[in-house]
């Protein structure tokens, strides 16, 4: 079985992010890391193989040069190889274009099961897995809280506020994994060093048959009109409850806000 895990290299969530003059996220301005939510998809892929499924795990990423670091981190957790779609024309792509690049790369590589995190921690749209499934013409099982594979059948559980659903799809399929699944293992030093010896293939848009004009900022179906820093919140009132009146003062505040 060919398992491909989609991974994304994102700006460190705790860093102070900024925007470039073209109103895209300035990825060069802050340190990056493998999107934390992708680690859950990687862990599930590794567990499937450890559980006896005869599969090879490939990681696929799209991004600038630094995105290779995300592949290295993933390869330290497990898996056989990485694939990096690297092309200047991709800069500024929206979700439609990103899903096109991923789908074309997946067709180029071949796949049976595509795994992804439930969301990136930067754009946080949670739509790429569904979009990729649509473009590939395959089924999806998104927001999986647990995952099992039996032959060519994938079963997941999916939580909503009101119900737990059991969902079944036949391969090939795209499955997105939530952080309700097992925490990713912490790679040992030896695994980190070994990961550097695993193959990483770099592909251009031409390699996967995507016209440069179909992606990037100019081709985006959405346009950012303006980015502004959220107005700094006026410092609120803080009272110290050393005399036992904190709750009463808070209740007064809630009354004044019309919350009671």
């Amino acid at each position: 079985m060919r398992i491909v895990v989609l991974v994304k290299h994102v700006p460190e969530p705790t860093a102070a992010w900024s925007f470039a003059p073209d109103q895209t996220l300035d990825r060069g301005a802050v340190a990056g890391r493998l999107s934390e939510l992708d680690e859950y998809a990687i862990e599930q892929a590794v567990r499937l193989v450890e559980g006896g499924i005869d599969a090879e795990i490939t990681y696929l990423t799209v991004g600038p040069q630094s995105a290779k670091d995300g592949l290295l981190k993933a390869l330290a957790i497990g898996g056989a190889k990485g694939v990096h779609v690297l092309d200047d024309a991709i800069h500024g792509s929206d979700s439609l274009a990103t899903s096109l690049v991923l789908a074309k790369a997946l067709e180029h590589l071949g796949f049976d099961l595509v795994l992804a995190g439930m969301s990136s921690t930067d754009a946080a749209m949670s739509v790429i897995p569904s979009m990729v499934a649509e473009r590939l013409g395959v089924s999806q099982a998104t927001f999986a809280g647990s995952l099992s594979v039996d032959g060519t059948t994938v079963s997941i559980t999916r939580e909503s506020d009101t119900a737990t659903a059991h969902v079944r799809v036949e391969l090939p399929a795209v499955v997105s994994i939530t952080d309700q699944t097992d925490e990713a293992r912490y790679p040992a030093f030896r695994a980190i060093m070994m990961a550097k010896k695993k193959p990483i293939e770099t592909l251009s848009l031409a390699d996967i048959g995507v016209e440069p004009g179909a992606v990037g900022l100019a081709a985006a179906a959405t346009r950012v009109v303006a980015v502004s820093s959220a107005p700094a919140k006026a410092a609120g009132t803080v009272v110290v409850d050393d005399d036992g009146t904190g709750a009463a003062q808070l209740a007064d505040f809630l009354v004044a806000r019309g919350a009671l």
Partner: protein
Amino acid sequence: MSEILVLAELTPTGVRKATLELLTIARGLGEPSAVVCGDATEDVVALLGTYGATTVYAVSAPEIEQFLSLPKAEVVVTLAERVRPGAILITSGPEGKDVAARVAVRLDSGLITDAVDVSAEGATITTTQSVFAGAFHVRSEVVRGTPVITVMPNAVTAEAAPAQPRVKSVDVAFSDRAKGSVVISRTPKGSSARPDLADAAVIVSGGRGVGSEAGLGVIEKLADALGGAVGVTRAVSDLHWAPHDLQIGQTGKTVAPGLYIAAGVSGAIQHRAGMQSSKTIVAVNKDPKAPIFSIADFGVVGDLHTVLPALVDEIDKRRI
């Protein structure tokens, strides 16, 4: 004015509040049409009309329950191709994201997710998103196709504007592809008397400062006194003091209630990312240096185990 398609969500007792919020937004953009996948009862139609739906498209088909998300996406695509709407509004959430993603690809239309505001000037629809833990506001527009927009629950207050909707029954021929994700079972969760986190107008959340699973009791009592929902931080859910589906933050749920009371919550950026858009934020924490105070409209430096029960008493007193 062009039609604005609103994907309605039904609940066992009627219509989800977030749907009424979408109709409220849609009225500012064009003629709101509600798309009901399921049983469009008289009560459902009347409620959608109360919030301004002038058309209700009713689609009743067993496939909608039998298969995950894709049948609804095909309903929306079918209607979009038929009525050429000015925009398609869907509530943010797992199913909403699935549907919006599929619709955007099929219509080759721009998709904007998690909008907190949507407005129109002439024919141009502009969205506002609150991104990167609320640090930036991004205003965007769709420049190709039919704008597909998912909107955060609680982004606006639902306001009534009665209309008499015409009901149009719609038949959709589902493709084989729509039947790929088979729902084997749906197990309803024990119904809580509390509102769902996503829709709640008031949320009381507990962090590690609650001290134990039992310590969450004071959070629950305050939530019940305010008719609100209970949320927790990642630390609390990782310690298994509360189920994961109550977790608010970057890797949990994103919420924006009218009132958010954070007790024993330090305010790490991962948590703030999930609640920073709340309209009024209250913090109760022993540590005066906790970052949560920097975004709080009102803060109490004190022990939540004394402040919260005292607050419940104060609320009772003021309501008599």
